[in-house]
């Protein structure tokens, strides 16, 4: 708290704000509505003005402990309570707890006769009583324009409304005033001239049969705010504004690596996989095993005990499981363990924003480590390209901020295959882009996978051929023929040729070995021969030598004998 105070003090005095608690609105308004001042919410019928008011009060009570007063000019308390029950707002209980007060103001021209001067002090007293009785901090007036049908004296009415807004400001309650959209002006009765602090415009637009609700902050005195039109939705949990486009690229990055599920494909990346929290795009023409690659990834994620959310826009969960089982990827156990969540729907079922909200909700509830969307190109059927692009930007940003690895597949049409650009233009947003394509040769099609980009890691430049076997996707070794990398049948031919060549050279080698052996044996025989010869010569010489020695001995003996005989004589 201390830090908060000092940090805000260093920024200079800021306009105090009251957080609405409405999903996304506080981000756009940078903190909420101006505290203690009136805010005008205008829009045409069916925009959710009343709902926004009710949600403002309910969230205020539930999240910020600020009691609220709802002054309803159009609906009774019971009707209002019934209308918002489906959103999980229990107005009756809140009223019972004394935190909410609903005052239904009934204005009927036919019951009222006007004679002479009057003012609207009664309204002030009622509102003041309601506020004081529960110590309300928030007030919603829905729709104050109903007074214009009840009181014919516009001069009195306008001055009284001006006084009312002044009075609300003096009371220091944060007020939402709803008003019907007028033609050529923001409101039918020109209320915007009385409320000068904050004006929010709601809009309901039908483009190509798809309704999109949008919210824009027309003005916000004394504060910066998002100026765009933001799509918003009325979901089961109330209003959800989508300001999710991250203005700053300041998300945390991870150094962790996630496997693609195909070992050989991992090997094509310098760090053997994708970075955790990065976004991966797989593009390819029809039937290039994009879904299989996506399922491999999901399988790999779940195998490590992590959670994965799989958005299938083409197949039902059962179909996906069955189809993937045929290629050796059994997803069913993971679904049973709750590690894999398959959300299958037709893209046309909802508007884009609805899809985005579904995804947000699932991410918040399921807390996956990875998200697969198969394919994003189908979303183009729901909105126009710029809408899809902005939605995907939001989506990618959201997932990045949440540090969730995202894998998208995208179908590219055969004609555009050369330009290698996805229609949605998300290619610049993703970190890793894998292209799968047909390599059409003589009478056959083969599948090739290549990495077009991989931010932050070295990667292979090769186009690798792969096959979908019943053990999953397998990349084949690179075979280089006379004219480059060869695939399919030519690969087999090439391989056979190479085998024949290898066999021939092996045989040649063996033949040479045998030749050497023969030569060695001849040589050894010769050596033995010579040695034998030498031995016989040696023997002979030794014999001669011996004989000579014996002969000389004998000679000496004879000489000695002769000498002996002579001396004796």
């Amino acid at each position: 708290m201390q830090d908060l105070m000092t940090s805000s003090a260093s920024l200079g005095p800021q306009l105090p704000k009251t957080p609405t608690g409405i999903d996304g609105l506080d981000e756009i308004t940078e903190g909420g509505l101006p505290k203690g001042r009136p805010t005008l919410v205008c829009g045409s019928a069916g925009c959710g003005k009343t709902l926004m008011g009710v949600e403002f009060l309910v969230r205020g009570i539930q999240q910020y402990n600020e009691p609220g007063v709802l002054m309803a000019f159009e609906e009774t308390a019971d009707e209002l309570a019934a209308n918002v029950t489906s959103l999980g707002f229990d107005l009756q209980t809140l009223q019972g707890q004394g935190q909410l007060r609903i005052d239904h103001v009934h204005v009927d021209r036919s019951e009222i006769e006007e004679t002479g001067e009057y003012d609207l002090e009664g309204l002030f007293i009622r509102l003041g009583y309601a506020i004081d009785s529960i110590g309300a901090k928030r007030v919603v007036l829905d729709t104050i324009e109903a007074l214009f049908s009840g009181f014919p004296n516009q001069a009195v009415l306008r001055s009284e409304i001006r006084r009312l807004f002044r009075w609300l400001k003096d009371k220091g309650v944060t007020t939402i005033i709803t008003a019907e959209r007028g033609e050529g002006s923001l409101t039918r009765q020109g209320l915007e001239e009385y409320v000068s602090d904050c004006v929010i415009l709601l809009d309901n637009r039908v483009i190509e049969q798809i309704t999109t609700r949008r919210l824009r902050i027309v003005k916000y005195r004394g504060s910066t705010h998002g100026t765009n039109e933001y799509p918003y939705l009325i979901t089961e949990d109330g209003i959800s504004v989508l300001p999710v486009t991250s203005l700053k690229l300041a998300h945390e990055v991870s150094d962790e690596i996630v496997s693609s599920g195909v070992p050989a494909l991992d090997a094509m990346f310098g760090r053997h996989g994708f970075y955790k929290g990065s976004s991966v795009l797989i593009t390819g023409t029809a039937g290039t095993a994009k879904t299989t690659l996506a399922a491999s990834f999901a399988h790999a994620v779940c195998s490590t005990g992590k959670r994965c959310a799989f958005f299938a826009f083409e197949e039902s969960p059962q179909q996906l499981v069955r189809n993937m089982r045929s290629v050796g990827l059994d997803l069913a156990p993971f679904i049973e363990q709750g590690l894999l969540h398959v959300e299958a729907s037709r893209p046309t079922l909802n508007g884009l924003e609805k899809h985005l909200v579904t995804l947000h909700r699932l991410v918040k509830e399921f807390k996956p480590d990875a998200v697969v969307i198969d394919p994003i190109s189908n979303l183009i059927t729901v909105g126009n390209i710029s809408e899809v692009r902005s939605m995907l930007t939001r989506l990618i940003d959201f997932l990045k901020i949440s540090n969730i690895t995202a894998l998208f597949t995208s179908l590219i049409s055969g004609r555009n295959i050369q330009q290698e650009m996805t229609e949605e233009g998300v290619s610049s947003l993703v970190d890793t882009w894998i292209s799968v394509r047909d390599l059409e040769g003589v009478g056959e099609r083969n599948r090739g996978v290549s990495i077009l980009k991989a931010r932050g890691m070295a990667h292979s430049n090769q186009v690798r051929e792969f096959v979908v076997t019943n053990q999953g996707v397998q990349l084949l070794d690179v075979v280089i023929g006379p004219t480059g990398i060869v695939t399919g049948a030519s690969r087999l031919t090439q391989q056979m040729q190479e085998q024949a060549q290898a066999l021939a050279s092996q045989q040649e080698l063996e033949r040479k070995d045998r030749e050497i052996e023969r030569k060695r044996r001849v040589l050894e025989a010769t050596i033995a021969n010579l040695r034998t010869e030498f031995e016989s010569v040696e023997e002979e010489l030794r014999q001669i030598n011996h004989e000579e020695l014996v002969r000389q001995q004998k000679l000496a003996d004879t000489r000695r004998q002769i000498a002996g005989t002579a001396s004796a004589e």
Binding site: E111, E113, T115, Y118, D119, L120, E121, G122, R126
Partner: protein, 104 residues
Amino acid sequence: METPPTITPEEETWELRLYVAGQTVKSVTALANLKSYCEQHLKGRYKLEVIDLLQHPQLAAGDQILAIPTLVRKVPAPIRKIIGDLSNQERVLVGLDIRVVESK
């Protein structure tokens, strides 16, 4: 020259309520006007209750009071409301449905 007799929908006691907020000029005027009309046309057959919303703000919601001063005719039914300081006698009488038989 006789006083114009009044014909009421039913011969019953009228119940009138006047909502005011403090002793403002409008409230005082309204009360004075109302008293004079009643004395004139409903003498002895009416009950007038003056409610000061500054003292009883919780009573404002019951009769759907927005404008001050407001005169509410509770009985006879149906409920009718007249706002303003009641300075226009004709409109008050029409509003309250007090029919004056013209006999001038």
